[in-house]
Amino acid sequence: MTEQKAIEGCKRDDRISQKYLFDAYSDGMLVVCMRYVKNLPDAEELMLNGFFNFFKAIDRFVYNGNGSIGAWLKKIMVNECLMFLRKKDGLKITEEENAGEIAADDGIVERMSAGELFQLIMELPSGYRTVFNLFVVEGYSHKEIAKMLGITEGTSKSQLNKARVMLQKKVLENCR
């Protein structure tokens, strides 16, 4: 079964097609949710919510080749996570002073495994981690992040800077 056929099947509410897409994308989407909410049961619930909304709104989806399903699903998952964080902790993000310069890491990150880096990102505070994920991993601009989180662009930038400095420290500590 190809992705396109699976999408067509999903539009007909075909369970096999839905299962095919779930099997193909659930791992990746669970990781996306984990990056935002840390807690596995919450992440799993959000991932299921995301897939449920995806299948519910499948009629509006237009398949544009490889990567389009993943990109759409990722957007849905990120939205689900942000809604969850807003409800749960209120996602308090305040503007902070610049955390200072980020030291050169001499390619330490390149030598780290994905799992190690993931664990270090998970140790960041919720606000830092959210902005870091949105900017660095998802590729949103500060303007978009500010709109999504209801903060100013300056706050987004300062949060990102803080997150970078903290992560840098953690990376260096991890290498020692």
């Binding site: 369970r15 839905q18 299962k19 779930f22 099997d23 659930s26 791992d27 990746g28 669970l30 990781v31 984990m34 990056r35 596995l40 799993e44 991932m47 299921l48 897939f51 449920f52 299948f55 980020i102 890491d105 330490i108 990150v109 390149e110 780290m112 495994s113 994905a114 799992g115 880096l117 993931f118 664990q119 990102i121 900017f135 660095v136 991993v137 590729g139 970078r164 992560l167 840098q168 990376v171």
Partner: protein, 239 residues
């Protein structure tokens, strides 16, 4: 620490490499159950709709409280002694009549020429007569149907019945109702202590009297179905 390196590493991350263990099949089962669950019907009420519904309810309640009291003046309980209680339903004093003449044939002598009850009709479920306050007369046995007197003068209806008592002896009883002009009511039929529960009651004759000159039409087993109508028509022609 470039963003590109971090992004690539995060995108290549799998649950296993990130130390995440989850049951994919169980997760799918949960999702499938959620997909197959019928969505709960959601009723979206705008403020305007809610206000309109509340207003409608208020008006309906108001109408409901006002309407029966109006109707009650027309729906009167009728007692054997001929008293028509207005608005207030009084206990019916049923009397055991002197043994009536069951199967008494109707004769011309029994029928007065001035009888004018041609418009006496039963008004079962007749919307034109409105809703009757059944609750207030529910303490008594009564005819199932309301009878409406459409004539300009009072009409008396007497039902002569035969009932089987506890000593297996048939007993004749009568129930009389007087309907004022333009009112409707039921013929009361109170039970007696010496009558078995669910004892069969048969109506032997119906006596209908209109006006004040005691002229009556009697309908019994010997009367033809169109007897009453014919008699009334004849009287009218004569008048």
């Amino acid at each position: 620490m470039s963003d590109k390196d971090i992004r690539e590493k995060m995108e290549s991350l799998t649950p296993l490499s990130g130390g995440i263990v989850f049951g994919k099949e169980e997760a799918w089962d949960k999702l499938q159950a959620r997909i197959e669950r019928k969505p709960a019907r959601r009723i979206l009420l705008s403020y305007r709709m809610a206000a309109a519904a509340a207003l409608l309810l208020f008006v309906s309640l108001l109408a409901m409280y006002n309407y029966p009291s109006k109707q009650l003046s027309q729906t009167n309980a009728i007692s054997d002694n001929g008293v028509v209680a207005q608005r207030q339903i009084t206990p019916v004093q049923e009397t055991v009549a002197a043994p009536a003449q069951p199967n008494q044939p109707a004769s011309e002598n029994n029928i007065n020429s001035n009888t004018q009850n041609k418009q006496l009709v039963t008004a079962k479920n007749n919307k034109a007569h409105g809703r009757h306050n059944l609750d207030e007369v529910s303490n008594y046995y009564k005819t199932m149907e309301f009878i409406c007197n459409g004539k300009p003068c009072p009409t008396e209806i007497c039902a002569i019945k035969k009932i089987k008592c506890q000593n297996d002896q048939p007993q004749a009883i009568s129930s009389t109702a007087i309907l004022e002009s333009g009112v409707s009511g039921q013929i009361p039929d109170k039970s007696f202590d010496n009558v078995e529960t669910n004892a069969p009651i048969t109506i032997e004759a119906l006596k209908i009297k209109t006006g004040t000159d005691a002229e009556a039409v009697i309908l019994n087993a010997n009367s033809a179905p169109a007897y009453c109508v014919e008699k009334i028509a004849n009287k009218q022609n004569r008048n």
